[in-house]
Amino acid sequence: MSTMNDISLSTNEKNILNEKIEKKLSNEGYDGILVFGSSNLSYLSCGIIFPYMDQKLVQPVALYICFKTGKRLIACTNDLADIPLQLNWDGDVVIYELNQHSPESSIAASLKNHVTGKVAIDENYMSAAQLRELETSIDGLISLSGDQAFADLKMIKTEAEIRLLEISCRMGDRGFVSALNHSEGAALDTLSYPLWEYAERFRVHVGEYGGSGVGNMVVAQGDDCKDLYARCEPRAVLNEQGFVRLEYSLHNSGYWITGSRTVYLGESNQQAEIAWSNNQTLKNIALKKLRTGVKANEVYSAVLKASEESNIPFWQGADLGHGVGTSERELPYLAPYDDTELKAGMVIALGIYTYGPKEELICNKDVYLITDGEPKLLNWYKNWEDLYVLYGTSARHG
């Protein structure tokens, strides 16, 4: 199990990923890349991760790589400048200050004498204002959308990327098991157990088991469980017998997974067990379709057909799964609108929302690697096929 401790890319693994990236993008005619999105920056730099970029908690960061000259550059503000060094970045760091009328114009000015040629940009992330400022600042900038090329690259993982995602899965399951272990001692106790603490126990333990960050964190019980997300009232406690669901995402060294785990609070009953079993039935239908050569929307269609034939309804508001990688949600999408063909090397989070006896949404999401044979389960840490019952009392477990 020692490989489960190799939580970041080795130099050799970075080189392999970098070669793959350069080869494809050079072949497609780009001289280089200039990206601003956190997912693209992590991926194309092969492991440089900045904090809270998408939330705009920090000023813009740019990654520029020129395939022709070998120039590799990150532009950021001073407070972030030590991060590339901490993460063994092998290129330059250009520090910019907010000396222009906006952050976008300031970073564009700092790139003025560095960026040349025909660059692939991330139109899915870079703002229109940012592009305008770059065009103003950099003479002769030729920018083309690199989004499709980036997406194609990201969909098929290298062995090392798969390992990082597998580690993320293990961290997530260990975090979730820990949240259960802490809460089940007091879940039905008169002292009660706050909902926020259930979620927070998950977050804390992901960190303790080596995770790099937690993203989504939503906990729902009772009527709230009928919705995908619900606001967690600050003083709400685990007190409603029935299904409790935790939605989460987390990352290990920039490799994200999403999860959804449902448990039953209190002693379960036959209806709950049947509901759970039904969920597994549809999930197994989807699993049988996770094969190379099958289109993503055919997985959805197979589940829809099985749902109708077996009279097991499922919530059709969400897809059945999606790719994961340097963002928590990426191609392919197991949804009617996506006809991407599944290929070996894709990593997909799969979870179907079916209904409990009170119309609660129940889901048990797992992450799979598409192979030339059967899909390989990456969330292997604990088997969740049986309904997990959260039950216990004590004066107070820590």
């Binding site: 904090p51 809270y52 998408d54 705009k56 908690l57 503000t77 001073n78 407070d79 030590d82 991060i83 901490q86 993460l87 520090i95 910019y96 200050e97 907010l98 000396n99 009328h101 906006s102 952050p103 139109e123 899915n124 992330y125 870079m126 703002s127 229109a128 204002a129 592009l131 959308s145 926020w196 603490e197 927070e200 804390v204 960190g207 303790e208 995770g211 790099s212 960050g213 937690v214 993203g215 989504n216 939503v218 919705d227 995908l228 997300y229 619900a230 606001r231 967690c232 600050p234 995402s249 060294s253 920039g254 059709q316 508001g317 969400a318 928590e328 949600r329 990426e330 009617p336 609108y337």
Partner: protein, 390 residues
């Protein structure tokens, strides 16, 4: 309609009126939350799923969301009408098509697409052109509206700023100098002490982190485990820099405070902390309604240099906080924004002392008669001192 909704709605209506718009299209998620109250916790991380808002003069906002977020959007909003698009077709295109239906009769449309991704901005502008309507950029109007807070926004910002300072202090209370703490434990406990004070459970954005000892030489230490930190332990006398960003009622705090694992500071720490206090005083004196942000920056930089305060070269001295944890205007050399009444700034005090970087963030409300520090659970003229032992 509740106070906050009414106040914000009035400001949005003012933009529509000033720009003589038939309607305003909003695509930035923080602007959408500001204008409509709709907040989806993972919207910034699941970018293939897009939200749009459309607001006509004196009408309830329309918010267009993917089907999977319909109920979440319905739970919290300012009387908005929620319309969802299904899974049948490409999600972004479906959202845009729904938006087009809503503004089909408009002749003059405002939009904040400038700060949205290029792909989204292009789709919106093409849609407006397809309708034969006139396009008006309203990015700056929304930025300006958000930068000056309403009465209820100030109430919320004061509440969460003070709670966060209370939470930091509440955790510091547990520090005993001769009982070592790991940076991971500090980070965890900062969050827990915040949640114990009724802040909202937040995933991505809520940052709590403790950086200890010599690790404070890096501002974002412990990469990439920024919010979890590491397994380094405090020694007696070490500094702890505690960051906490919390949310309540949709509004953010963004605070940083220092504790010392001792009942007294070393000479170096005393010098460094003294510089931070002086820097805060300089900033509070310089912030005046009617001045430009860049003037404040240059004024403070100049005075700090006279006093041998080693500010990090080029580091902005502050930013605003509101519906997002960091927003403009910025106290930087390039920001020409004129300071106004009811702006709420986070003063980003950061100084270099030898190899270490000391940071403290105060939140202030700017008024005509001066500034009010609104995150002062205790007076931070001195850091928090841990008991040596018990």
């Amino acid at each position: 309609m509740k106070n906050l909704a009414q106040e914000v709605t009035n400001k949005i209506n003012q933009i529509i009126e000033d720009q003589n718009l038939d309607g305003l299209i909003i695509s930035d998620i923080y602007n959408i939350q500001y204008a409509t109250g709709v907040k989806i916790p993972c919207a910034h991380a699941q970018t293939d799923l897009r939200i749009f808002a459309y607001i006509e003069r004196n009408s309830a906002p329309i918010v267009i969301v993917p089907k999977c977020w319909e109920n979440a959007a319905s739970q919290y909003n300012y009387n908005a009408k929620i319309i969802s698009y299904s899974l049948e077709n490409d999600q972004t295109i479906s959202g845009i098509e729904e938006l087009l239906k809503q503004c089909a009769s408009a002749k003059r449309l405002g939009s904040d697409d400038d700060i949205s991704p290029i792909k989204i901005a292009r789709l919106i502008r093409n849609a407006i052109a397809e309708l034969g309507a006139e396009y008006v950029s309203c990015t700056d109007d929304l930025r300006k509206a958000r930068s000056t807070k309403t009465k209820t926004e100030i109430k919320h910002l004061k509440s969460i700023a003070m709670k966060t300072d209370h939470a930091i202090n509440g955790y510091f209370h547990h520090l005993i100098a001769d009982r070592s703490k790991s940076s991971m434990s500090v980070s965890e406990n900062l969050r827990i002490h915040s949640l114990e004070r009724d802040i909202d459970l937040e995933g991505y954005n809520a940052c709590s982190r403790g950086v200890i000892g010599n690790s404070i030489s890096n501002i974002w230490a412990y990469a990439p485990k920024f919010g979890f930190a590491a397994s380094d332990f405090t020694n007696v006398g070490d500094p702890i820099i505690a960051d906490a960003m919390n949310n309540e009622n949709g509004y953010w705090s963004n605070s940083t405070r220092i504790a010392i694992m001792s009942e007294e500071m070393s000479e170096d720490q005393q010098d460094a902390y003294g510089h931070l206090v002086t820097l805060r005083d300089l900033l509070c004196d310089a912030l005046k309604v009617g001045r430009k942000c860049c003037e404040v920056y240059k004024d403070v930089i100049s005075k700090a240099a006279d006093l041998n305060i080693s500010i990090i070269d080029g580091h902005a001295l502050g930013f605003c906080v509101g519906a997002s944890p960091m927003e403009g205007p910025f106290l930087s050399s390039g920001d020409q924004t004129i300071l106004g009444d009811n702006m709420v700034f986070v003063l980003d005090g950061l100084i270099q002392h030898k190899v270490l970087r000391y940071r403290s963030r105060d939140t202030v409300l700017l008024a005509v008669d001066g500034v009010e520090v609104i995150n002062c659970y205790k007076d931070w003229r001195e850091p928090y001192f841990a008991l040596n032992t018990i």
